[in-house]
Symmetry: C2
Subunit: 205 residues, 2 copies
Amino acid sequence: MGRTPPGQTRERIYQFVRDRLLSGFPPTVREVKEAFNFRSVQTAREHLEALVNEGRLGKEKGKARGYRLPDSSRLGPPTRLVPLLGRVPAGPLDIAAEDLEGYIPIQAHHSSEELFGLRVRGVSMTGAGILPGDIVVVRRQPTADSGDIVVALIEDEATVKRLRISKNHVELHPENPDFEPIIPDSTDLKLLGKVIEVRRYLERP
Amino acid sequence: MGRTPPGQTRERIYQFVRDRLLSGFPPTVREVKEAFNFRSVQTAREHLEALVNEGRLGKEKGKARGYRLPDSSRLGPPTRLVPLLGRVPAGPLDIAAEDLEGYIPIQAHHSSEELFGLRVRGVSMTGAGILPGDIVVVRRQPTADSGDIVVALIEDEATVKRLRISKNHVELHPENPDFEPIIPDSTDLKLLGKVIEVRRYLERP
DNA sequence: CATCATACCAGACAAATGTATGGTAAGTCA
DNA sequence: TGACTTACCATACATTTGTCTGGTATGATG
């Protein structure tokens, strides 16, 4: 019976399970057994239980595929995939397939948040470090605070701007001196949400 | 026996299952049954099977939690958690616990890539849309091309700059007119890697 | 040497989970 | 009206999956 030094297989099992969990399809104990060519399910199970006892994995006891990444401050909030949209619907996030560019992984602090990604097309926000081609991650909300960077729909066209609220009206400010603020008619403006994250991919895969 | 118009429950079940799959924990048929207060497992199963027949869900037949998003759903490359470092080691990525600020989820195109995140501290790259507090995602590599944005160690201090390579020497250029290019002595320079992504979190959790 | 901790195996059992069969009820259409 | 489609319910069975009990073997330590 071959046997590895203490801790070596454990570490490889942790990485296998972690990768499976991040890919969205948790393994069964038997899948771990097969992945490592053990002859016994119990071998896999003992490694997994040890990882749970060390706090590196969480677990829903007795449930199929029940191992989880733990909710710990080290790993941060749970990760989920959020749709990257080519076009934003005005209503609820019923995503038509042709509007879906892909998905991006986001650490979501509150699971009730409805998030989406949108690709920036213009240069009106370069002064705020938001360049064409960047992706903004937007939390859907119908209102925002003055000073927030928001995504708004004006006559069915989505735009990223800084919101300025005064007594009588709302303004959408660019962060680029070549552009003028937009003062939309209130019936033409629909605020979609607040930009909570900006991402730039510098390299094509 | 209450009953909804055709297609309405189906749509809500699709969204429930899709969100569970995007969050990384696929549901059992019984979990769908309970989420929708059905009295019978078979009700949930029939909706799920219909979604499979419509091509909106995939499935590993006979497997627990076997429903999947179909391959056409453009999920992108697998996600991994990449360490966010407070200090960059000059050697291999053996991370001391005090240097680890947390983890960020990255879609990794090549599993052999060694990645880390680093928080930007200065204003020398604002012209390139990289602001203080941003996180740069770095792929460890010992060389890069002229024009790449890189992370380099100069006298044990990590800096983010644009690399300029000429015949005789290497320069590290800021993207801010208030700063001068750095022309390091070649023994003082260690190139750690290339910046492949920039992230800005606009909101504290 | 005995003891302990760790890494593995074998087999059986309990529970979770997927699946199948038979059914009711409502709405639409010819 | 009958036939068909769809949305639900009830029950049972088959299979997968988690768990437990008993075991061997190796290396380190007192």
